[in-house]
Amino acid sequence: MLFQINFKSGTPVYLQLVEQVRHAAASGGLRAGEPLPSIRPLAEELRVNRNTVAKAYAELENQGVIETLPGKGCFLKELGSPLTKTARNDLLTQEIDRAVVAAHHLQISDADLLALVKKRLEAFDRKNQAATDSKDPA
């Protein structure tokens, strides 16, 4: 997969890498079992500190998004969070609360917010579908 780093975003570089892998995994850009670029070539290509990439991969591994196979590299894991359903709901609730707060300040109505969420879910579904179609051409 390809990464894009933006030093002006205010988000630490390693978190930008984490977010991009998570996004690719959610939208079918990266499939379970597919390898991530190795640390050294990726660091060279992005011209970022090798430790930054290593930190991003360690974080992704902690979150259960990727797994490291010694000698083989890092791969996207099958979905299967080690956390309980309640814990997962709690984590997502925090993220949703942020969107709810933002919607309030942007004066977006509840109905519009819900419609927008539905639209985004559909958009990700479409991307995933397109990724699956290109994998197994019918």
Binding site: G10, P12, P41, A43, R47, T52
Partner: protein, 300 residues
């Protein structure tokens, strides 16, 4: 990871005649970090580096490299570090291969695999005389000579100035790829430069030096979080009250504000005046360096 700092400078003073090149500088570089050392021409960067290498003797203060005084333990210190200056010179009658053999003869270890990898990558002809190398090729040769001994500390003094963009890019990729591929606790980089943008992604922490003194020392991520630019456009004239802004630029209905850690408060004030457009971004390290001039006059 090693807990002892690789470089420790305390209240360093070095004068040239009546001119104080370095005037009470202190900084600490922990093991495994890539540390940026920024400053304008004549700020005292090279003088500081020369004190680390015992090429100059401090007039006051202390310098420790790997916990040792470079004046008393010059060989022990130099055996564990490598240095690439901005102007590199080699014996002109030697070939590239001769030069590398010569450099290797001073070293306890020399990684032949890295040597051949890098010669190939830079497309340096080992049989060529160093006198006929371009400036870029000379810097590449110096970098090979610095990385092959696998030093614990790599000191770079303006390494990429005067090089074309492709050679500069390769230089940095090599530092990341070839040098950083070793044990991270034993791979410390201390780089002085004013071409900051190129090293942006590599730098963990930095010190800005101004007139021989430390002006600002920060972690790169924290600095990008603290220094932000707010741009806004208002429907009409607005009276903004912006205490604590590093600088405020106005052009008609538009305003550009530099925030130094108080971004939230400044944003709240801007939002209260209902801007038509509002945009915030972090400053890059280079922009922070430029802004540090403002910072200096603000604290003076």
């Amino acid at each position: 990871m090693n807990t002892a700092p690789v470089i420790e400078i305390q209240n360093l003073v070095r004068r040239y005649g009546r001119h104080d090149a370095v005037n009470g500088l202190s900084l600490t570089v922990p093991a495994g970090r890539c540390y940026g050392f920024f400053g304008r021409n004549g700020a005292g960067k090279t003088t500081t580096i020369k004190c680390l290498l015992n090429l100059l003797r401090p007039d006051a203060g202390s310098v420790r490299v790997f916990g040792l005084d470079p004046r008393q333990h010059e060989v022990a210190v130099k055996a564990r570090l490598a240095y690439v200056p901005d102007m590199v010179a080699f014996y002109p009658w030697m070939t590239v291969q001769d030069t590398l053999e010569y450099l290797a003869s001073f070293r306890e270890r020399w990684n032949r695999d890295i040597e051949s990898d890098l010669l190939q990558r830079f497309q340096l002809d080992p049989t060529k005389k160093t006198a006929s190398l371009s400036k870029g090729q000379r810097t590449q040769l110096a970098l090979i000579g610095a990385i092959c001994p696998e030093p614990e500390l790599l000191v770079l003094d303006e390494p990429t100035s005067g090089l074309d963009p492709i050679v500069r890019r390769e230089f940095i990729e090599t530092v990341i790829g070839a040098y950083q591929s070793g044990d991270p606790g034993r791979r410390t980089v201390f780089v002085s430069t004013h071409l900051i943008a190129e090293f942006e992604g590599l730098i963990d922490q930095f010190t800005i030096i101004e007139q021989g003194r430390e002006l600002l020392t920060m972690e790169a991520d924290a600095a990008r979080n603290r220094f932000r630019k707010i741009r806004a456009r208002f429907p009409g004239e607005s009276q903004l009250n912006l205490p604590g802004a590093l600088s405020v630029k106005r052009a008609g209905r538009e305003v550009e504000i530099l925030a130094n850690g108080n971004c939230e408060a400044l944003l709240a004030e801007v939002k209260a005046h209902q801007p038509e457009e509002l945009h915030t971004e972090s400053l890059t390290l280079e922009e922070i360096f430029v802004a540090s001039n403002v910072l200096k006059s603000a604290t003076a």
